[in-house]
Amino acid sequence: MRAVVKGRVGVFYLQGFLDGNNAPSFLTIEDIKATEELNIDMLLVSLKKVIFFNKNGLDVFVKLLTNVRNHQHITVGFCDYDHAKFNIINTFYKDGAGFSLFKSQEIAELFTASNKGESRTVLLYNEDPSQRSAMAIELFDYGHNPIMTQSKHEFEEKKKNPELYYAIIEDTNLGVYGQKVATRVTGNAIIYTISQFLDAEISDTFNLSYHQNSLNVGFRLFIFDAYKVISMNVHALNFFTKLASSAAEYNASICFVGLSFEKTPESFKNDLEDAGLMFFDNMDEILKNKELLQELGGGGGTAAKQSRSLNKSLVNELPQFIEATVSTIAMMTNATAIKNSVNIQTLTIPGTNDQYASSIGFYGDIDGLIILIFPKKIAKKACELLIGDENASEEEVLDSLAEFVNIIAGRAKVLLTAKKHLLDITLPRTYADINTLLEIAQNKKGVQVDLSFEGERFIFFLTR
């Protein structure tokens, strides 16, 4: 069994009965290896469809989760259970086995980074005050708005109005929480929250691959929320200097906000400024100053000052990308997509209304960005198999579009790997408003392929 990966969360979906006899059969050696190689921030086992489990059954997965956590420093645990199952797990692992428990996957996802800049209001309660505070801090660091209740009674009262909250968090425990730096997205800026004493460990806890992905999909402003940083040593200084150099290649800006130099040598500030990092006293200085935001790259429009040109190696592989797109549409809809024209040009979209777009980057032996633009009706049709509901909301359609473009990139990766090109793919990004995409991509030259599907036109655009 393989984990299903959505965004940066991998989940094993088990069904039926889970005991010591059958549990090892869920995971072959290849499955374990594939799981250990996943590039994710959180690994969970869903118990939603498990009608019976015992400790021996859970132990098999706990062992895998612990291994993954020890090697990758990510959050691991179980999710999707009711109150009874929560109590049973806590009885089995009285002294704690180090994993996290999230009542639902929806709750777990609040504790991870995504490409979306949504701030959710959530109601929170845990009997243990330290757990309660830890969860509230993490949620806040991920850009959410936790309403922490101090007593069970207050929680039950507030719970009577569930419509006020995106999620109600109970029967949830962070356990030994992943050590990754918390990440959130605000508009076109990515905010990393760092704290305490920064040393060599920062290179383990900072998710470099997520940062690289973000650069590849067009983010250009990265802010380190450093209010809670006490001090840093020379190893951390080197780390941030290197990060600044790599950001310069993309013309991206890196800023520190709220960093105090009481216990950090002033000379570090000079070194970091020389490397191109900027310092601000508070977040609003950046986020509420539109001109500055635009200048730093967080406005989106001026993102790619140093636009990189198409190269031969990317154009040579164009057929693989088109094949991956066309065959994915055929697989998902049983209908054929027809290629109408291929041109090297800047992205040209006739009319920007009633369309959705999605993009996904890839990097490795070759690098670039795939952009797909669909009429809304066609996007919905193409994702019908994934959605399964004719009355799906815009959010569900956009989520499915991200999964759709992920499949396309996955297929392209397989085709290119067969030609000995090794590459990784970034998180997909979706756009409900085409203008947001145009702000990032309008000046980029690329290959535009106009395709039609059931008589409606859609655009495939490959660029760097």
């Binding site: 069994m1 393989r2 299903v4 990966v5 959505k6 989940v11 979906y13 088990l14 069904q15 039926g16 009965f17 889970l18 006899n21 059958n22 090892p24 059969s25 869920f26 072959t28 939603k48 469809k49 498990v50 009608i51 019976f52 697989m331 998902m332 049983n334 019908e384 198999l385 994934l386 399964g388 999964e403 992920n406 499949i407 996955g410 297929r411």
Partner: protein, 265 residues
């Protein structure tokens, strides 16, 4: 990936019930085991199937059982009918399983285990009905149909399932409007089995919302039994555990009784 036309072609290509088996089934339904066994003996393939089946460890016979009359005598009326259905299904099993890592012997063991537990369940439910008892033998047909339709799309399904937890039954339904249990019901219809059987098979998917009374009870027990069997180590390894969606909320209220009946501890 899979179209309604492919499904129609698949159903069309299902062989009709062989005359000998049909005749043996008619005698069994009429309660005439001697004539049923005489009839079954005329078909060497059926005879070999019965002999192989009866000597599988699950039946626990110390000496080899080889005479058809003796086999039918041991099985009794209802189980004979059930075994003849098993034989019909065996005509559809692939020579080589590609989608699921399964052998035909493992598949026959699954059929036998489901049948034995179903017998215990019906005793618990105090239901004494030959048709209901034998209906269970058609449940594994959904696995055969799944193998036949999806084997050549294994890679595509794996890519789809790497981003979304979709089971084969849901994929098929969303693409064609029919699910694996509908198709198993079609097979039962093609083999001229009573309509009650095809209805029962359809209900085992756990997705039918309008079930009431005994129909609903039987559907619940069938659905849970199927998942109990598919949670056995060999079938988990074969990739059968997640081929359909387990409707846990549909069976939650019978779990305690179920665990007692199948002696699951």
């Amino acid at each position: 990936m899979i179209t309604s036309e492919e499904i129609a072609l698949y159903i069309q290509n299902i062989p009709a019930t062989p005359a000998v088996v049909q005749e043996a089934l008619n005698y069994a339904r009429a309660g005439d085991l001697p004539k049923a066994s005489k009839c079954a003996s005329q078909d060497p393939v059926l005879k070999l199937y019965l002999k192989t089946l009866m000597n599988r460890p699950i039946y626990g016979f110390r000496n080899e059982v080889s005479d058809v009359a003796q086999i039918f005598g041991i099985l009794g009326l209802a189980t004979t009918q059930q075994t003849l259905y098993h034989y019909l299904l065996s005509l559809l099993t692939p020579k080589k399983w590609e989608l699921f890592s399964l052998t035909n012997h493992q598949f026959y063991d699954l059929q036998a285990s489901i049948s034995k537990h179903w017998e215990a369940i019906l005793t618990h439910l105090k239901i004494n009905d030959k048709e209901i008892q034998s209906a269970i033998s058609l449940i594994p047909a959904s696995i055969i149909v799944c193998e036949a339709l999806f084997a050549k799309h294994k890679t595509e399904v794996a890519q789809l399932r790497s981003v979304k937890a979709l089971d084969f039954n849901t994929i098929l339904f969303r693409m064609t409007g029919s699910d694996l249990f509908d198709l198993s019901g079609e097979i039962a219809r093609k083999w001229e089995m009573p309509s009650r059987i095809s209805d029962l098979i359809r209900s085992a998917s756990g997705t039918e919302k309008n079930l009431t009374g005994q129909e609903r009870v039987l559907a619940q027990w069938m659905h849970l039994l199927l998942f109990y069997e598919l949670s056995q180590s060999a079938y988990v390894s074969a990739g059968l555990n997640d081929f359909i969606d387990f409707k846990i909320e549909f069976v939650q209220d019978i779990y305690e009784s179920f665990a007692q009946v199948v002696q699951y501890t």
